[in-house]
Point group: C2
Chain length 428, copies 2
């Protein structure tokens, strides 16, 4: 008879409670599936006395995550603390140094210190797993690392921040402004304590950088993600994009180019009828393009107690079954450093401008655009009642660099009423 797998769970927020519920309620199912008993040895949380609606009395209580990571009676340290520095990192390092396996939902930790932790884990013979760190309950880490192991990956595309997708789809359905929906989401508790983690695209970029490492065999390079949040998206952009058959999504895209790894996290237009275009609310989707498999799409809830706990349990079940994989799918020492390549891949762009309503204004704009090889596919001039003329352009496939040069030059026409907004159209 195999020995039980003994867990230590650090922090009892939504996910921690979800994990404990599954382990309490599905004892025999988990044992049948993994061939081992899965037990909780010890737990820790900020408050010992807080009512949590469940019986925790049979678990040892530790005063802090470090002491928990140090305990001799745990095999797996489950880190649900969050934050890329401080106690989360320290406790994970203690666990690894003691040769314990670690399961974490902490994307920030992996995005910032994943490579360093992977090296340490390999040195001590520990396993570091993190299915819950990316796209909630969708088994994307497993699918990419194991299910597509025979593929060279061409591109990864993902909608991986449910809050941003909620805000964008709610703006569209309600007609409310970004500011109004933002404050609504805040009241509903959908936003991180630092909302910029969500709306600035940082949280989603953490996830993208983790997927990139596995997909392309490169060291995690979060700083190499070109970042742009959703806070400049107006309700007009959403409506005008819809008019032209598009929806706006905070899209992560990662692909290898001839000069390095291109990682972008930014609002993009995608066809309204595409699977990515149809995502509502907090739903996540990751699209993986492999040279053998073609395009695989994985869709599901990106957050929440059940989905995130499900992902944590996937890692725990793997460890119970004796599945032991290198952190990013290959030994950390073999991961390549890569130059980050900013938006090399050409694409069409959506360009929103507000012009003075005067004769020749548009001609001045199009002249500059054509000087910088920004050729126009479609253009619309919207009706208006004041002296401002809203103009909308979708370009042909162009280089981002050219577009940026053109945008820099445009103010010299003296016909702009505001800074132009450019949004990439991603082919999906």
């Amino acid at each position: 008879m195999t020995k039980p797998l003994r867990l230590g769970i650090a922090r009892l927020g939504t996910v921690g409670i979800g994990v404990i519920k599954i382990i309490q309620n599905k004892k025999s199912l988990l044992e049948e599936r993994t061939g081992r008993k899965i037990l909780i040895s010890a737990i820790t949380a900020k408050s010992k006395t807080k009512k949590r609606g469940m019986d925790l009395s049979s678990y040892h209580w530790e005063k802090d995550p470090i002491s928990l990571a140090n305990r001799d009676d745990i095999d797996v340290f489950i880190e649900l603390i969050g934050g890329h520095d401080g106690v989360a990192k320290e406790a994970v390092e203690v666990a690894i140094n003691k040769g314990k396996d670690v399961v974490t939902a902490n994307k920030a930790l992996l995005a910032h210190h994943g490579h360093e932790l992977a090296l340490k884990a390999e040195k001590s013979g520990s396993i570091l797993r993190f299915e819950a760190a990316v796209a909630g309950g969708i088994p994307v880490i497993k699918s990419l690392t194991e299910g597509l192991a025979g593929n060279s990956i061409n591109r990864i595309i993902g909608v991986m921040n449910g809050t941003c997708n909620y805000i964008l789809t709610r703006m569209e359905s309600s007609g409310l402004s970004y500011e109004e929906v933002f404050s609504e989401a805040n009241k509903l508790g959908y936003l991180e304590a630092d909302p910029n983690l969500d709306i600035g695209g940082i949280d989603a970029a953490h996830k993208l950088s983790i997927l990139s490492s596995i997909a392309f065999g490169t060291e995690v390079n979060f700083d190499g993600v070109e970042l742009d949040g959703i806070d400049k998206i107006t309700i007009n952009d959403i409506h005008q994009a819809a008019d032209m058959g598009f929806r706006i999504k905070l899209l992560g895209v990662s692909q290898m180019t001839s000069i390095g790894l291109e990682q972008r996290m930014s609002p993009c237009l995608v066809p309204s009828t595409s699977p990515l275009g149809q995502l509502e609310g907090g739903t996540n989707m990751v699209v993986i393009e492999g040279d053998q498999v073609g395009q695989i799409m994985l869709r599901g809830a990106g957050a929440g107690e059940g989905p995130t706990a499900s992902a944590v349990l996937s890692d725990v079940a793997d460890l119970a079954r004796g599945i032991r994989l290198a952190t990013f799918g290959q030994p950390a020492i073999t991961l390549k450093k890569t130059a980050s390549s900013k938006s090399q891949t050409p694409a069409p762009y959506y360009l929103r401008m507000l012009l003075h309503d005067e004769p020749g204004a548009l001609a001045k704009i199009t002249k500059i655009l054509s000087q910088f090889n920004v050729s126009i596919d479609r253009m619309r001039q919207y009706g208006h009642e004041d002296e401002n003329a809203p103009v909308l352009i979708v370009t042909h496939e162009i280089k981002h660099e050219d577009l940026m040069k053109a945008i820099q030059e445009l103010p010299n026409t003296k016909v702009l009423k505001a800074q132009p907004v450019a949004i990439r159209v991603e082919a999906v």
Copy 2:
């Protein structure tokens, strides 16, 4: 240094060639990812002399799959022969008895003999893997067995036969009849040698029965799948369904009910705008509903050289990495026998009838329907130029049993010109 993993590949059809290409072209990638060299020791095929456009001279040639399975210099027997009896089964059994691991793409073999083979594999310490048997390159076996191990599964829904989906979507886009598109698909080589495997739903039902076993911890029960093919679907059904916002898909549904496992493979209506409704051509999708994770959707190519070889390589990489799982995710001895429960779950139905165009005909029909608790949600009577009146009904949620009784009674009205056709509307 770990020893290389040595493969024996039985049959060199499209998939076999695809597997060899990956192993030849991605040597170092596979070694980096799995930590081992993956080598081909020996191969076999029907013809040794056939031109295959690649160098096979470094592999030992065996005269038949049985001899190949018997070789001492292979660790993994890769069965790409097909068919649920005969040499495929025999060779797999030989490999298992010799303690070798087996990777197969053979859904028929697993649907008919999966339980028996799993018992044998566990006895001899062999591993039997089959990612390629279900939904081509989509890592659905892995997602279900490992990624969702912390979930009790509520329902599985899948479009898992690309040929049927091609026929149904091609009928819609071309306006051609079932017979015309069938013969087109035949000419294009899309159909199995016995076309009834595709259009009769048998191939897809094989796949569904395999997923059911993993999802519900039950012995594979292919005979328990309630089967209905797509050959009775007319172009009118497709157009009329579209009129009402639906598309017709050959849908596999598996769910546990109070009286046993309900497995259905039959044409169903799904909303046109749903992810399942939007599948075109050969694309497959599997929807898994877990009590923790909610609804997960996995989409990708269901067949073809690259996708299927990708799935075979996923299993090979697992074995190279030392991942050793019970065939259906838990020891075969713990799998439960289950009574098969035919269509217990109530649903709305689409009902197509052709009536004599005479006063009171429709009243006679609706009277019978209401007698059997078949209540009508929507009804349409189509324009017609002869004495036949086409009538279309979508019912409220009803029991299949009641509908069948009503349909049996309907001919007694003497107003039917043809046997009514009923198609289930599946909530997705």
